[in-house]
């Protein structure tokens, strides 16, 4: 076969192009709201500020604080399950 041959084999995972759409926004904001710290330094400082703002603007909604064991690895299945079961809205914060 020469390079001019018109067919190649797909080197990819053969998934349709993934377009990540944002989840529908909740308006008004309804909890429980999960604030996930990915365990980067000072992520907690940022989330503390955010939690304060949320408590002012949505005082009736419950807020949960969650934390990944390490920022270097994906969230473990147990944490993903907890987020799915306990949170209606999730905010994940990155600080560095």
């Amino acid at each position: 076969m020469r390079e001019s041959d018109p067919v190649i084999l797909d080197p990819t995972a053969e998934q349709s192009p993934l377009r990540r759409h944002l989840s529908p926004r909740t308006n008004p904001l309804r909890g429980p709201i999960g604030l996930v710290d990915i365990a980067k330094p000072r992520g907690d400082v940022f989330l503390d500020e955010l939690e304060g703002l949320l408590r002012l603007r949505a005082p009736r909604e419950s807020i949960l604080r969650l934390r990944k064991p390490t920022f270097t690895k994906p969230a473990p299945p147990s944490l993903r399950d907890e987020i799915t079961q306990r949170c209606r809205v999730v905010i994940q914060a990155l600080a560095d």
Partner: protein, 546 residues
């Protein structure tokens, strides 16, 4: 290898178009009289010699029910010319796609096959042998209930043997096409047509399946050739490739290995490297996603280095060595194309480094006075392995003056202290690449790897106070990251701890040592790591399979 049918085998059935516009072949159901197949190509002198003999035999036994079919591997014009030259009366069937020739699996033409009325092979041979032909004529006559007709003339005795010419199925381009046809269904990857007006290289770039350099188009023929480099099934899943945790089959790895420019014998090294990279300990997801510098650095040990021509000596991290260049590149392409790890998406490297194109070296075991890396890590010397290390780019360790092991090891330690940041002690793994000339200096004083590691730890030890952030330099070991026993009730370091010596590396064995490079030059190298230990990436060694 010839696998020409044997006496008693079922004759493969086929039907071909003939020069006269009809059809001829061998029926799967059998029936009728015996059939004599004469496979030929027009430019074969032995075919020229045999054609009249076949014609004569068929003519004499035609009335008794023998059917002759001349099966041509040549095009119709050349076949017609051949038939006319020899006044062939038997139908001339055109084996245009060589499917009949392939089914009868002979290596040379002419090939004569006598098939019984029941569809069984009575006799078959290739080339010309006097005894073979006479025996075939005898079988043909017997199958028709006749005596053997006289064929050989005393005035023109036949040669005992006369070799034929190679069957066209062995022409390189034809063989490849036939291999693809045979393998139909063996490969399951989606076929992607390249628009005829497109340059393939521009097309790949537009699809985003390259690494910024041109890739080799992964045609079916090339992928099938690549798969010959392993005994594993194309459908076998080798690993789940981060970040998308996509199953990497041997076939998909082979496709990317073709694109990277690998030879088939490299494939099993690529497979082993991916097995190692896709472990939880190596943590490829984190290695890929970090803003820091690491890339999978592949160190190959054992006999496979010589078998595939992997460079272990001069310019080992550099250009010019196909095995080194393409094995590392194949791993990177798999991560990109299968795992979905692309720069700017999951790969968030701030600067990156050239090793993210490819980084694969062999240990120069022959120049080393020490057990090689894989032996230190629990394998036998005769086993072939890959060790994956999440490393930065190599940086120089210059020492042209030391003539004693202690002096040289001190130099190495001083250079290693600057990995990542001089104040960052308690560091995880690094890869120290010792050049052969430095090895000689260490060997002359009888130093082992353990001695070298110990001296590096001594040289780099600093009082804890010197490693802490201060007004002059805010970087350093943050107190909150230190062991709790060093802290007082107020959360501050106890004063008596400030003088504790802290070596650069957490453990001596975090200094991975390999020997590589040219015989000349007193230049070693260090490759810094990433976050070490369970929180980051740990070097992983895997045996290379078949």
């Amino acid at each position: 290898m010839s696998a020409i049918p044997l006496q008693g085998d079922a004759a493969p059935a086929f039907v071909l178009r003939t020069l006269g516009g009809g059809k001829a072949g061998v029926s799967a159901r059998g029936g009728g009289g015996a059939t004599l197949l004469f496979f030929f190509k027009h430019d074969c002198p032995t075919c020229d010699f045999v054609a009249p003999l076949v014609g004569e035999l068929c003519r004499r036994l035609a009335e008794a029910g023998l059917q002759g079919v001349a099966v041509s591997q040549s095009d119709s014009a050349a076949s017609a010319s051949f038939a006319a030259k020899h006044a062939l009366e038997v139908p001339v069937a055109l084996d245009e796609d060589l499917s009949a020739s392939e089914a009868y699996a002979f290596d040379a033409v002419p090939c004569l096959v006598l098939v019984s009325g029941e569809g069984r092979v009575l006799r078959a041979f290739q080339g010309f042998g006097r005894d073979d032909f006479l025996a075939l004529a005898g079988d043909a006559a017997k199958s028709c209930g006749r005596a053997v007709p006289p064929l050989e003339r005393a005035a023109e005795p036949w040669p005992e043997n006369r070799p034929g010419c190679a069957s066209r199925v062995h022409d390189p381009e034809v063989a490849e096409r036939l291999a693809v046809r045979r393998a139909a269904g063996r490969l399951s990857a989606r076929r992607v047509p390249i628009p005829p007006a497109d340059d393939p290289f521009e097309f790949f770039a537009a699809l985003g399946i390259d690494d910024g350099l041109p890739v080799v188009p992964p045609t079916e023929a090339r992928v099938l050739r690549m798969l010959q480099g392993t005994t594993r099934s194309p459908s076998e899943v080798v690993a789940l490739v981060p970040p998308n945790l996509v199953p990497a089959t041997v076939e998909k790895i082979a496709i990317n290995a073709v694109m990277a420019g690998c030879r088939p014998e490299y494939l099993r090294v690529v497979i082993a490297a991916l097995e190692a990279a896709c472990t939880d300990e190596f943590n490829l997801h984190g290695v890929l996603a970090t803003t820091y510098f690491p890339t999978p650095v592949i160190v190959v040990n054992g006999p496979v280095r010589r078998e595939i021509g992997l460079q272990c000596a001069g310019n080992v991290f550099g250009q010019g060595f196909r095995a080194n260049a393409t094995i590392g590149r194949a791993v990177q392409l798999v991560v990109r194309n299968l795992g979905g790890g692309r720069p700017g998406e999951v790969d968030m490297a701030t600067l990156g480094q050239p090793g993210k194109f490819t980084c694969c070296i062999g240990e120069n075991e022959e120049q080393s006075p020490w057990p090689p890396l894989h032996v230190e890590r629990g394998f036998r010397r005769e086993q072939s392995t890959v060790t994956l290390f999440a490393g930065e780019a190599p940086r120089a360790i210059l020492d042209q003056a030391s003539r004693s092991a202690r002096s040289l090891a001190t130099s190495v330690g001083l250079c290693l202290e600057s990995v990542a940041h001089p104040k960052l002690h308690g560091y995880g793994e690094v890869l120290l690449v010792v050049c052969p000339e430095h090895c000689r200096t260490l060997e002359a004083d009888g130093w082992s790897k353990a001695d070298l590691r110990r001296r590096i730890q001594e040289v780099t030890s600093r009082p804890l106070a010197a490693c802490l952030p201060d007004d002059d330099c805010a970087e350093g070991l943050p107190p909150q990251a230190l062991p709790r026993e060093l802290l007082g009730p107020d959360g501050q370091l106890k004063p008596e701890t400030l003088g504790i010596p802290v070596p650069k590396f957490r453990r001596d064995e975090d200094i991975l040592i390999v020997v590589a490079g040219a015989a000349a030059g007193k230049f070693s190298a260090v490759l810094g790591g990433w976050v070490g230990g369970k929180m980051g990436s740990v070097a992983v060694t895997r045996e290379i399979g078949t």
